[in-house]
């Protein structure tokens, strides 16, 4: 009898296996957030090793968490111990450890409706997220609760922090086809009071905001895909004056220069793509392009600058099949082209 008891006890202890045997650490390197196709629940995170230049098509999030990221991962941000990921259609912000193991998932609801997070920003130990129903939320990064929300313009997209303020691009994109039309404002939120201090008028449909080393905020207004082209503007962080600087569709910065991509369509829907560089210190467009051979890139999508590797990552997508990422040095030479998931959006370096 006692022998059986001993055996049973031994079995009981050994059978108590840990469910989360996924305390596997991930490799250090570049991680690509792939947006996926809206409605297909196929947003993924894939890996690229900048040292060996090898990439892996497996979904890191699924490997670490045993389930999918969700639908339309929109923005990713690494700060402190955590990685934050805004998943737009799945209406959640995933908070993960540096090994992509999810710690918590923040759902954002207002009046029973999903608020749909778009972009993330970090300042003063708080996480800020723009929500498509017209709000910006502030999230406490210790207990991951939503502390406060402030109403901004319609369908806010990009966020940028400068001079103790949070700039929010209000695109108004969901009403492009109604008499209401696009929005054309940038809201300025004072971070201490968490109130909208000023609403700046810009070109219609502002979507991307970036802060450079000297504090200036640059804004791209995507326009209306018709008579109003993609416009690049500079916003003074103190006086809030807006200056039109040129044309651009996407941008990335290393703090001093803006690496732009400008995609224009002619009347027969042929695409003409240029890659200008804007020097923020000299306040002028430079004469050279940051891609030496533009014809090598097929269907460019987004541009990112990654400081750890000091490289520009240009993603490419045809929205139907898995995309690619082109790695460029800042002098324009192509270092590598590697495969990613469907609609690669953004690149981060994770240690």
């Amino acid at each position: 009898m006692t022998l059986w008891m001993l055996i049973l006890c031994a079995l009981a202890f050994t059978s108590c296996s840990d469910d989360d045997d996924d305390d596997v650490t991930v490799e250090e390197g570049i991680y690509v957030l792939n947006n996926g196709k809206m409605g297909n629940n196929n947003s993924t995170i894939t890996y690229y090793d900048p040292v060996t230049q090898a990439s892996d098509a497996a979904d890191v999030y699924a490997a670490q968490n045993g389930k999918g990221l969700g639908d339309s991962g929109q923005d990713i941000l690494c700060e402190g111990k955590y990685i934050y990921l805004a998943v737009y259609t799945s209406n959640r912000i995933s908070v993960m450890t540096r090994d992509f193991v999810e710690v918590t998932s923040i759902a954002l609801l207002r009046d029973g409706q999903p608020q749909s997070p778009r972009s993330l920003a970090y300042a003063g130990k708080k996480l800020y997220v723009s929500l498509y129903d017209g709000y910006v939320a502030r999230i406490n990064t210790s207990d991951f609760t939503v502390e406060a929300q402030v109403k901004v313009g319609r369908n806010p997209e990009g966020l940028a922090v400068s001079n103790g303020k949070l700039f929010v691009a209000n695109s108004g994109g969901m009403d492009y086809n109604t008499p209401v039309g696009y929005d054309k404002t940038v809201s300025v939120i004072d971070l201490k009071k968490f109130e909208v201090e000023k609403t700046i008028e810009v070109e219609i449909n502002p979507t991307i905001l970036i802060t450079v080393d000297n504090g200036d905020v640059y804004c791209i207004s995507t326009g209306n895909y018709g008579d109003v082209p993609n416009t690049l503007q500079k916003i003074d962080p103190k006086s809030y004056a807006v200056t039109k600087v040129g044309n651009a569709t996407e941008m990335a910065t290393d703090g001093k220069k803006l690496y732009l991509m400008y995609s224009q369509y002619d009347a027969s829907w042929n695409q003409v793509i240029t890659y200008p560089v804007y020097d923020t210190e000299k306040a002028q467009m430079l004469s050279w392009e940051w891609i030496a051979d533009a014809s090598a890139v097929v269907k460019p999508y987004k541009v990112c600058y990654e400081p750890q590797t000091d490289r520009l990552y240009l993603t490419s997508s045809n929205y139907r099949t898995d995309g690619d990422v082109y790695v460029y040095k800042t002098d324009g030479t192509l270092e590598k082209k590697f495969g990613a998931g469907l609609n690669p959006l953004k690149v981060v370096y994770v240690k």
């Binding site: 409706q113 129903d133 829907w269 099949t321």
Partner: protein, 664 residues
């Protein structure tokens, strides 16, 4: 079909009146026969047809437990039905991977059209008043049709029931009540009355409601949860009145008035972590059609029809991301249509048909920049058929001219196309029902109004999408061993689609472009067997198997080059068996579908699992005082298979239906 009826009447009449003058002192007495009206329509032969044809009768569909037209079509071979789930979910049919736009749908001989979206939602056709559903690929043998029917690669044809009066009654009434899982309530009524000796009227009405809240299993990686499908309700009703009249000069007149209305929830695809969905759709459709047919003599016949169609739909999405808290889209379409066909049979071996159609379509909606498009379509077809002993040859040439008109912006170019087609059927041994058939057809489909004008996606420079079809097949029917009846049809086909209209992304904006080439190889095999088991037990078995290899050949450098196109399984099939017994009839159908991909790239992440759906039906008919009663119980998907046709649009698991009908 009508020629057959006419000839029969003539024979019977002629037999009574003919020989009197030719003979003298004939001891046989001449009897004048009473005119017999043959009211059954001849069932088209799937074996003799020069092009693949599949037929299922209303009686069979009822016995097998089909709820809607989609259920019947799914079991045809070579067909892919895109079913978005639930009773009210959108269901479109694509024949041989050519796409829903290349499949024409006919309702009692006149095309059902949708110029806005180009696809017909077959889920909304109930089977309550349907007498037959046919699917013809290529060209039906009945060449006496409107020109429009020659323009599609495949035609799905729905025939409604003609009035039947039993005994000496001049009225008939059928009432049916159906109920089932997920709150299904579906009463229907059919009343017919003989107005004059050769005129009858029938009125149909049916009402359907279901809450559609069915449970389903959701798999997210290793996480498997049980969820419920919300916002999947439907409330619809339909009413139809038909007039049939045989005039004194033996010409036929038919008229129809039809109205359909529905409101339904659109549950959308399942989104991980976010169950919110408040999209809804309202539909209203009214049409009136009138047809006239006259056979002047054995050589000449004329057929003509007129139709007016009005459709309205309203889509609503409630979400705070819109400035007004909701988005409402309203569309209104109208169509005026006329067709005239002439049949000329000079000697009996050859017949010619010249048919011409005119259609006027227009669309208005509530979008801010609506161009209020209009379209004038003229189609003329010349067909010839040669039939002698064991050889049937059909040739056709269709000429299409389309003129577009817009209120603002650039006007799309006019389109002029010629579409040829030829089919051949050979019966090598006249005493055996073995046929060899071949056909070739070149069709195209014009861009829909959505393709041309929809918001930003529309592209007015779109060219028509073309499809070339080649088919070769063998068919046989007859008796074999202990089987009373058996038939086998086997076809191999090759289709090529060019200038395929697809939505391509252009930096945030999607644009419709002629940017696709698809190569399709496939084969369909169908078999039927009927036999008796015991003295009063009869068994009928139908099976079909389809193999399809539809690959994308658009761009050599794309990652999906030569990959199977989305939602096209390589292997699929169906099996149905019915046991007809004096006490009860039992039917079983199984639908099997292989793996397919949700997106163009054939990678594991896009793969949708294979599935098998089994349905069992039991029914009993009995008479009581001259009134016919019928009771039926169905268990649909009795193995509770959790599957989806479209990725993340789960289908219901096991469900039940009970129906009772009375025919006076």
């Amino acid at each position: 079909m009508r020629l057959f009826f006419y000839r029969l009447v003539l024979c019977l009449l002629g037999g009574g009146l003919g020989p009197v003058s030719a003979q003298t002192a004939d001891t046989a007495r001449v009897h004048q026969l009473q005119q017999v009206e043959v009211s059954a329509t001849r069932r088209p032969s799937v074996v003799r047809s020069a092009a693949p044809l599949q037929v299922v009768s209303g009686v069979e569909m009822e016995r097998l437990g089909y709820q809607s037209l989609a259920d019947a079509v799914r079991r045809f071979s070579g067909v892919t039905v895109k079913d978005y789930g639930g009773i009210g979910g959108l269901k479109t049919v694509s024949v041989r991977s050519l796409g829903a736009y290349h499949t024409g749908v006919m309702y009692d001989g006149i095309a059902v059209s949708n110029c806005q979206a180009g696809q017909i939602d077959i889920g909304r056709f109930s089977l309550d008043n349907v007498s037959r559903v046919t699917l013809a690929v290529g060209q039906e043998d009945d060449i006496f049709q409107p020109a429009r029917m020659f323009a599609s690669a495949g035609v799905l044809s729905i025939q409604t029931q003609r009035p039947e009066f039993r005994g000496n009654r001049d009225y008939s009434l059928q009432l049916r009540m159906k109920g089932g899982s997920f709150g299904l309530v579906n009463p229907s009524l059919r009343y017919a009355r003989r107005l004059a000796s050769r005129t009858s009227l029938s009125i149909d009405g049916d009402f359907l409601r279901a809450d559609g809240t069915y449970p389903f299993t959701l798999k997210n990686g290793q996480s498997v949860t049980r969820e419920k499908r919300y916002n999947s309700d439907i409330l619809s009703w339909h009413t139809e009145a038909n007039l049939y009249s045989l005039l004194r000069d033996s010409s036929r007149v038919t008229a129809k008035v039809y109205y359909f209305q529905s409101e339904r929830g659109l549950p959308g695809g399942v989104i991980f972590y976010n169950p919110y969905n408040k999209e809804r759709l309202w539909d209203r459709n009214f049409f009136a059609q009138a047809g006239y047919e006259k056979h002047f003599n054995p050589r000449w016949a004329l057929k003509s029809a007129l139709k007016y169609n009005y459709s309205w739909n309203r889509y609503m999405d409630v979400n705070n991301k819109y400035a007004s808290g909701k988005q409402i889209d309203r569309n209104r379409q109208q169509e005026y249509y006329a067709t005239v066909s002439g049949l000329y049979t000079p000697k009996g071996r050859v017949s010619y048909v010249l048919a011409t159609d005119f259609a006027y379509n227009r669309l208005t909606n509530n979008f801010t920049d609506t161009p209020r498009p209009e379209r004038y379509t003229s189609q003329t077809v010349l067909t010839a058929r040669y039939r002698h002993k064991g050889v049937t040859v059909n040739g056709m040439l269709l000429a299409t001219y389309i003129k577009e008109k817009v209120a603002s912006g650039d006007c799309p170019d006019d389109k002029r196309r010629l579409s040829p087609g030829v089919s051949l059927s050979l019966q090598p041994w006249l005493d055996r029902n073995l046929y060899v058939r071949l056909f070739y057809k070149h069709v195209f489909r014009v861009p829909t109004f959505n393709d041309l004008y929809y918001l930003r996606m529309g592209n007015r420079n779109l060219k028509p999408e073309t499809a070339v079809q080649y088919n070769a097949g063998i068919t046989w029917s007859g008796q074999w061993k202990g089987l009373e009846y058996a038939s086998v049809t086997a076809d191999v086909y090759y289709n090529r689609v060019e200038d395929k209209i697809v939505a391509l992304p252009m930096m945030y904006v999607w644009k419709m472009m002629n940017m696709g080439t698809v190569d399709i190889w496939g084969s369909d095999v169908k078999g039927t067997a009927e036999f008796g088991i015991a003295r009063r037990i009869h068994c009928r078995i139908n099976g079909s198997y389809t193999w399809q290899r539809a690959i994308d050949l658009t761009d050599k450098n794309e990652k999906n080059y030569k990959d199977q196109i989305p939602y096209t399984p390589q292997h699929s099939g169906s099996l149905s068996a019915s046991l007809l017994m004096p006490w009860v009839n039992v039917s079983y159908t199984a639908l099997v579908c292989g793996e397919r991909y949700a997106l163009p790239q054939n990678v594991a992440a896009n793969r949708i699992d294979r599935y098998a759906e089994h349905t069992l039906s039991v029914n009993r008919e009995f008479q009581w005082h001259g009134t016919r009663f019928r009771l039926q119980a169905d268990v649909v998907n009795f193995t509770d298979e959790q599957y989806s046709v479209i990725q993340y649009y789960p289908m219901p698991g096991r469900s039940y239906r009970l129906s009772a009908s009375v025919v006076f």
